[in-house]
Amino acid sequence: MTKNTAGSQAHAHTYTTQNYLVGFGLSLVTTLLAFGVVMGRWFTDETVTLTVIIGLAIVQLSVQFVYFLHIRGREARWNRVALAFMAGVVIIIVGGSLWIMNNLEYHMMTPKQMESHMLEQGKKGF
């Protein structure tokens, strides 16, 4: 019972106006920064731009999970476990798909290559 009351107090602590405003403020800053990076062409190197906006998206993801979806604290332990498992599956699905499909594309011939290949085969005779 004592554990329960302590839990509810900690739990009520996360549902404050201040908490939501901090989450909103940080999300707003990361959104506007990402927008500025792309619109203002702050970096000449595209790879840098790409890395920065993906980084900002991950920062905002973390901010919203902490301030809006309340994944901190003892009570949310199993929610964090489910979240971690989901993250693992997402990395496998998205990373794996991109890996396989890019590899496939790498091994594919362009239509031009295919044409010359077919001509060559035709010269050899079937």
């Binding site: 019972m1 329960n4 009351t5 839990g7 509810s8 739990h11 009520a12 549902y15 404050t16 106006t17 908490n19 939501y20 405003l21 989450g23 909103f24 999300s27 707003l28 959104t31 990402a34 927008f35 792309v38 619109m39 595209e46 731009t49 790409l50 906006i53 993906i54 900002l56 998206a57 905002q60 993801l61 919203q64 999970f65 809006f68 979806l69 309340h70 994944i71 604290g73 009570e75 949310a76 332990r77 199993w78 929610n79 489910a82 979240l83 498992f85 989901m86 599956v89 997402v90 699905i93 998205v94 798909s97 991109l98 499909m101």
Partner: protein, 199 residues
């Protein structure tokens, strides 16, 4: 349970280790997997424009930024409604919920405007692999938003008719999770589809 019964605000709180909360959370995680597959599809197909327009040519970033800010603001008002709920201020909670609805409907309206505009220009889902993946990914998110708005109307009406009991408080807590989760998914649509498309 006596300590909970004596504190009315505590009885309204659905703790993250509550079975219903965890069940709903697991649903959200599986929904995340659904979006992950759609993101993977989009990432693979985004270059396959079949001679049609690419992401850089089709999308207007300031328009999408406005959309993003509407959804983010609705996430905030939804959170403030939950704060009011925990404080037992039902009237204030309803005002924040109505604000959430208006902002969410604004977001959905802008998205539908974008979709009809694209289709009218001949850039519908049947134009290219890229556009099929785009409409599936963004449309699935829009469908979730539509369902969320319907859920929100039902909850506002229920609270106005029957007051804020433990059952409604529980459902509103789950609704807030759903709504915040949709904003999290949108961060990635904004980044992967719109920002990366414009680079």
């Amino acid at each position: 349970m006596s300590s909970i019964a004596t504190k009315p605000t505590a009885s309204l709180a659905l703790a993250p280790d509550d079975k219903t909360y965890i069940g709903f959370w697991i649903y959200l995680m599986t929904d995340c997997l659904l979006f992950a597959t759609l993101f993977a599809t989009y990432a693979v197909l985004q270059g396959n424009t079949a001679g049609g327009a690419s992401a850089a040519e089709l999308f207007s970033l300031p328009f999408v930024l406005a959309e993003t800010l509407l959804l983010l603001a609705s996430s905030l008002t939804c959170g403030l409604a939950i704060v009011a709920m925990h404080q037992g201020m039902v009237r204030r909670m309803i005002i924040w919920l109505v604000a959430t609805f208006v902002l969410g409907a604004g977001f959905l309206g802008m998205e539908l405007y974008e979709f009809t505009h694209l289709v009218a220009e001949g850039d519908s889902w049947s134009r290219s692999g890229f556009l099929s993946a785009f409409f599936t990914l963004v449309g699935t998110h829009g469908l979730h938003i539509t369902v969320g708005l319907l859920w929100l109307i039902v909850m506002i009406v229920r609270v106005m008719q029957g007051g804020l009991g433990p059952v409604n408080a529980k459902r509103l807590t789950l609704f807030s999770l759903f709504w915040h989760f949709l904003d999290v998914v949108w961060i990635f649509i904004f980044t992967v589809v719109y920002l990366m498309g414009a680079i």
